[in-house]
Symmetry: D2
Amino acid sequence: MIRFDSDYLEGCHPRILERLAGTNLEQTPGYGLDPHCERAAELIRGACAAPEAEVHFLVGGTQTNTTVIKSLLSPCEGVLCADTGHINVHEAGAIEATGHKVWALPSGDGTLNAERVREALEEFGADPTREHRVQPGMVYISHPTENGTLYGKEQLEALSAVCRSYGLPLFLDGARLGYGVMAEGAELSVPDVARLCDVFYIGGTKVGALFGEAVVIPSPGRIRQFRTLVKQQGGLLAKGRLLGIQFEVLFEDGLYFELARHADRQAMRLREAFLEKGVPFLYESVTNQQFPILPDGDIDRLLRDFSFELWQRMGSGRSAVRFCTSWATRPENVDALIEAIRKL
Amino acid sequence: MIRFDSDYLEGCHPRILERLAGTNLEQTPGYGLDPHCERAAELIRGACAAPEAEVHFLVGGTQTNTTVIKSLLSPCEGVLCADTGHINVHEAGAIEATGHKVWALPSGDGTLNAERVREALEEFGADPTREHRVQPGMVYISHPTENGTLYGKEQLEALSAVCRSYGLPLFLDGARLGYGVMAEGAELSVPDVARLCDVFYIGGTKVGALFGEAVVIPSPGRIRQFRTLVKQQGGLLAKGRLLGIQFEVLFEDGLYFELARHADRQAMRLREAFLEKGVPFLYESVTNQQFPILPDGDIDRLLRDFSFELWQRMGSGRSAVRFCTSWATRPENVDALIEAIRKL
Amino acid sequence: MIRFDSDYLEGCHPRILERLAGTNLEQTPGYGLDPHCERAAELIRGACAAPEAEVHFLVGGTQTNTTVIKSLLSPCEGVLCADTGHINVHEAGAIEATGHKVWALPSGDGTLNAERVREALEEFGADPTREHRVQPGMVYISHPTENGTLYGKEQLEALSAVCRSYGLPLFLDGARLGYGVMAEGAELSVPDVARLCDVFYIGGTKVGALFGEAVVIPSPGRIRQFRTLVKQQGGLLAKGRLLGIQFEVLFEDGLYFELARHADRQAMRLREAFLEKGVPFLYESVTNQQFPILPDGDIDRLLRDFSFELWQRMGSGRSAVRFCTSWATRPENVDALIEAIRKL
Amino acid sequence: MIRFDSDYLEGCHPRILERLAGTNLEQTPGYGLDPHCERAAELIRGACAAPEAEVHFLVGGTQTNTTVIKSLLSPCEGVLCADTGHINVHEAGAIEATGHKVWALPSGDGTLNAERVREALEEFGADPTREHRVQPGMVYISHPTENGTLYGKEQLEALSAVCRSYGLPLFLDGARLGYGVMAEGAELSVPDVARLCDVFYIGGTKVGALFGEAVVIPSPGRIRQFRTLVKQQGGLLAKGRLLGIQFEVLFEDGLYFELARHADRQAMRLREAFLEKGVPFLYESVTNQQFPILPDGDIDRLLRDFSFELWQRMGSGRSAVRFCTSWATRPENVDALIEAIRKL
């Protein structure tokens, strides 16, 4: 069985394990106050072209989203996002558990349209009953989105401009950021993200690390008491250096980007194979997640040798499925899948 | 200026003020542990044909919704409701502030369809990622709805049956319950509501009282520690007897229902007048809120002598507006409005 | 049975009921946006000598404490208070329910000592693990305290100075403020309170009103989105004018202060009677609550004709009890109690 | 510089790193649903002599405490604990952030006395105002305590009996459980803990793992929806197998207990050395944390070559300090410290 279910099937890039072994008996202070975290932060500031940025390391995505969002909102504010946003669907109500409404706006492809946000804010501003409503407090987006799609540069600039004109912080969930910036035709670089967003994170869990998300706050001090908030949310790892060490390895010579490009390329090979067969896609993804729509018979045939996720029933005996590649995907496994696709 | 803006424009029925004056210097224990609350509870149990029911008195609707909902949900559960539900729109995120997602389902007219609830629950049950989602924990409905519409008896029985088959408590917001049960052609009585719901409340604020909502829990003990939860939410009135006294007056000889019927009848007179002019309605309401769709010119004309609420722009120079009647609406004011409608 | 159990045994001052009757059929906008609330706010600004102050009307004390405190704290901050503080003991965890620790400091008499607060803040500032602790976010005091005791002017100035030097808002719970400022020898006036605190409230429930607490924010804008936060907490009364009307009556010609003085005087008469018999007191209260320590036999004797609260067992067959007077206490009832005390 | 600051200075036992490397390219399902977690759970059930127990793996202690406590409490309940309890002091208000009061009881040595708990519960039960107070909902203890002290078997049996007679779940924070059960003269075994507590966890972070805490629920189903609650709290690790793999290594042949014994022995050697010099201790710890009270001059002398934590100023030029040993402490480093102690 060759697995394409998700991008967190394996452990981590071997160089990380080596480094963990090499540093294992060092004695360092806890909670991220060690030299490895310091150096990793410095490397990330470089990658972001944001020399003043604060960088914090957390363990996982839900934890990171929750901590950042509760840090930025006042008690009667909510967070605007696409209805497909991870925080709206797959985080078990973590945002609401901190007291805030997730204010979901319809989205076709997973992105949040600047115009739609502006309309929602204008509608809110014009509503005479707005004092009785949840106040808009910030905007959350994912890049790549949960559907594998990307923001274009103009699109993110427009959204950022709307947010700034309304004084709303823009927070970008970069759980798969590497796969986004390294995709063919991607318009946005990490420095672009740092320039256009108020807070974002660079996902490690899905891009080569055992775990770990690096939160970047380009304007230092933008969030007060952030470390205490991370502690309160249960995200301050005692042996914080484990995060620093991993991000050092990923960012000291571009390994992060290399791994992401590999995954994107393998995904594009799959995409080509489906396109050649005339298979339509649920979303136009150029990143490591691909959502072809297949007849149920073909799905069953592929499931004999490959595992992947059933995404959505489309009616008429067809379903959208999800194939993920990752930094760890072996080209020969992709070859095998392509072969099978051609035989459908 | 004659006002039809809302059903809480005036104070209260004069008999309530008289009773408050008559009992003013009685010395009673606080926090609802007084003989007036006891007698009011007994009267309400009678009106509900629920001789074992617990009855609690709270001050306002948002407070009541919040207290009941946080009492019934575990930390990762959410409350299903119509997207037009008061808790989803006009309570400033009170439910989320207690940690719970409002799980809004689309609704045309303000009611929540039993089949739609079943589908949502089935979809949830079939979702392999459901462990990562907010768990369905209860169902909230309003009767009459925020749009003035009513549940039929079969409709509520069907919804109640779905809830019971899934083990989800059904909670009915009866802020305007009187106007619902006394409407022409209404199918549901208060005892029906008591039989089909796990918790509901009988709204006083909008039906003749100064303030006050009577929460009814037909199966006693269904909610543990309810009085402490009310205290925690800031809803345990020190001079609790003020609530008891008001509900005594309203329920000792049917005044509550009489006042509601009066408002419904005045609303029906308005409705007739609009229908005679061929004016369409946004919702088919038979209760005290009416939502005619009028050309903007006609709206301006009416606004010279009458106040009412602009509800929704419909395009093409027309808007839906809301006229409310109440226990306090004077028939001669309705006459005047009808006159004006006829002249449009 | 003559009752001295609490200061919320009766309804309200008759002039309030008269005014409610006189205004009953006025039609006003809801939620505190009516002319009565406007005028009451203006009268209160005058009484506070704070011409710019924001004034908001809420229904009860727990609700007010919760709303103000959650409005002022960021998510990892707590509120410092005396261990006897109402929010620490008798509000069913309402503050914690909004996510914040009540950081209780020991207090002998119910007041919070400026030096003790400074020490706590210095200890916190010197603790190398302070990032892992709840951050001090504000200070809560009651005046009079729950024990009937008062802050002196120097004492409150010192506390206010400590708070300001640390940037912590000072919030004063004035549920019984009238009884405090009108007590014999009281050093603090309402304008003093307005000058030294960042937020406070003037309690109506216990000083002549049916219910209602007037929140004063001397520097307008000090709390963002306050009305929405009140709504979220369930404290925005639909018929908000009921609060405005009551505070108009209380403040238009000094009735509030007159009623408070009456209660304080009756309490002093009781105090004298106990002192004459050599009875010791648990707290040195000059306000409307008195805490004599009596042999259990004497308590039983008094309980035949009077009701009052058992406060604390003191050992050796003695207990502290609480007698409350109020705006409604009749001097002849105090005469009767004094008579009984003399016979002990 | 030889460091004795904490028990999380190093990475992990080398066998864990080896196993991580050996399993690195396995493809497994995420979120703890993999064979490693399954096997680790089975091994832990064995170590607990609790064949039916549920076992869940979380990342860190604060996260675990928060998740378990919010899972067990209803909204107006609080958690009783010693005032020195980790949740009361060093978790940044994480428990309060989920809406619950930490109800701290005084403790001399860090343990929570059964009699004191019973008294608190009796006092609560006898309080006529108890409806207005936070309700007791569960009991939290640490073993070893934050002060390194241990519960005796009778002591824990007594506490467990009190909890059960009041229907309160007993939750044991075992962040350092290994050091507790392997201490010289320890009376409690892991199966004892499983028998006497309703939930507890076996700490990995401080006892040989990179990170990880294994929650044990001896009666399966005792907590509903636990996995979703873990997800909501941000504790469900995507690559959950990392936790399973670590606990497999620790429990498959007793490594966990061996490492703990090593640390305890090294601590006892330090303890002996201090005792020989007549140095008093702040707490009578037989586990891996030692709290000698030293003259400030001696502290300065030791700080030249060793690092450790300043714990508490004792006055008169003396302070209590904390030395921690761990699974990774090298005997020769302890030799060096003993040498230095002898020279004081």
